[in-house]
């Protein structure tokens, strides 16, 4: 049974009244801002019937340098039976970059989270194998952070002059 977008948002607001900060819409998709502690519960709620957001389209991080809660985690969920997309967002403080891992729920979250860890240094609690995905061993820092020096390179071998 297909269920309307409005009904989903209403149920979600009712269920998580105290952890959802705001619901807005941009580029044709609803954005749900929430407290990071509620992540697992919200996803587990949305994955069930009749909402069936069983597909994690994307998981990424954005660096808003200078703001108090600097990093923003973005999750795109897709419901195959309802043909709906939903965007979940939450903010992380630079002092505490821990957030629950989605890998126990979505298989593809494993590598997406490893990428976010590699590029931004987000620590995913409960991830089975949190190691750099793109950069090599011995690489220091997280290159997509805004305070990573623009042209800083870390060669693995001695370069010719």
């Amino acid at each position: 049974m297909a269920i309307s977008k409005e009904k989903i948002l209403e149920d979600l607001n009712k269920e998580f009244a105290d952890s959802i900060i705001s619901v807005t819409a941009q580029f044709g998709d609803e954005i749900i801002f929430f407290e990071k502690e509620a992540l697992l519960k919200i996803v587990e709620f949305l994955i069930k019937e009749p909402y069936t957001f069983t597909m994690l389209l994307d998981l990424t991080c954005v660096d808003y340098k200078g703001e108090k809660e600097r990093f923003e985690m973005v999750y795109h969920l897709f419901s195959l039976s309802n043909k709906l997309r939903l965007r979940l967002k939450t903010r992380l403080n630079e002092a505490n970059l821990e957030i629950d891992s989605l890998s126990p729920i979505f298989q593809n979250a494993n590598w997406l989270e490893r990428e976010a860890f590699d590029m931004f240094g987000v620590q995913f609690k409960g991830h089975p194998y949190l190691r750099r995905l793109f950069m090599y061993d011995g690489f220091e820092g997280h290159p997509l952070r805004k305070d990573y020096p623009l042209r800083k390179q870390q060669p693995r071998i001695r370069l010719r002059d």
């Binding site: 042209r151 390179q153 870390q154 060669p155 071998i157 370069l159 010719r160």
Partner: protein
């Protein structure tokens, strides 16, 4: 001088033999590979210049074609491939990325493969036209033709 005449002629003959029997090892990492394919296959046909033999091990190759972006993660691999090639060997930097890093001036990309291995011919372009590549390879042949044989007594430094 009789002896001098003999060595120059020998050099010239060796150069002539070498330039028409280049065995290539394509080290392809990016989109320039498409242009390489059109050059190597029937449309532009590298075999007309005696470079038709693609070797799939660097140990049998004379010419290393570095086609595409080389990242720092990949740099040790490229150097190992170069070291595995037997002398005499020549390197062609194919496309803007291999020449200078191209548009990728960032944390990941080597700013030109000449930071890792010595290069004989640079081919600019993003990607280069097949005619440019043929021109560059003919230039390389001219270079090989004129080359002396000091390399036998010298160790290439890099």
């Amino acid at each position: 001088m009789k002896g001098g005449f003999v060595t120059t002629t020998l050099n010239s003959m060796l150069g002539w033999g070498r330039k028409f029997s280049l065995f290539q090892y394509p080290f392809i990492t990016a989109c320039c590979g498409m242009e390489y394919m059109s050059v190597a296959c029937a449309h532009y046909d590298l075999d007309r210049f005696g470079m038709g033999w693609t070797r799939f091990t660097p140990r049998q190759a004379d010419m290393l074609l570095v086609v595409g972006t080389i990242t720092h993660k990949e740099a040790p691999v490229l150097r190992t491939v170069y070291e595995q090639m037997t002398e005499p060997k020549w390197v062609v930097a194919f496309g803007a990325c291999a020449v200078s890093g191209g548009i990728y001036d960032n944390y990941a990309v080597v700013q030109g493969i000449d930071r890792i291995i010595p290069v004989d011919v640079y081919i600019p372009g993003c990607p280069p036209r097949p005619e440019t590549i043929l021109n560059a390879l003919i230039k390389l042949q001219e270079k090989i033709q004129k080359e002396g044989h000091e390399w036998r007594f010298q160790r290439k430094k890099y």
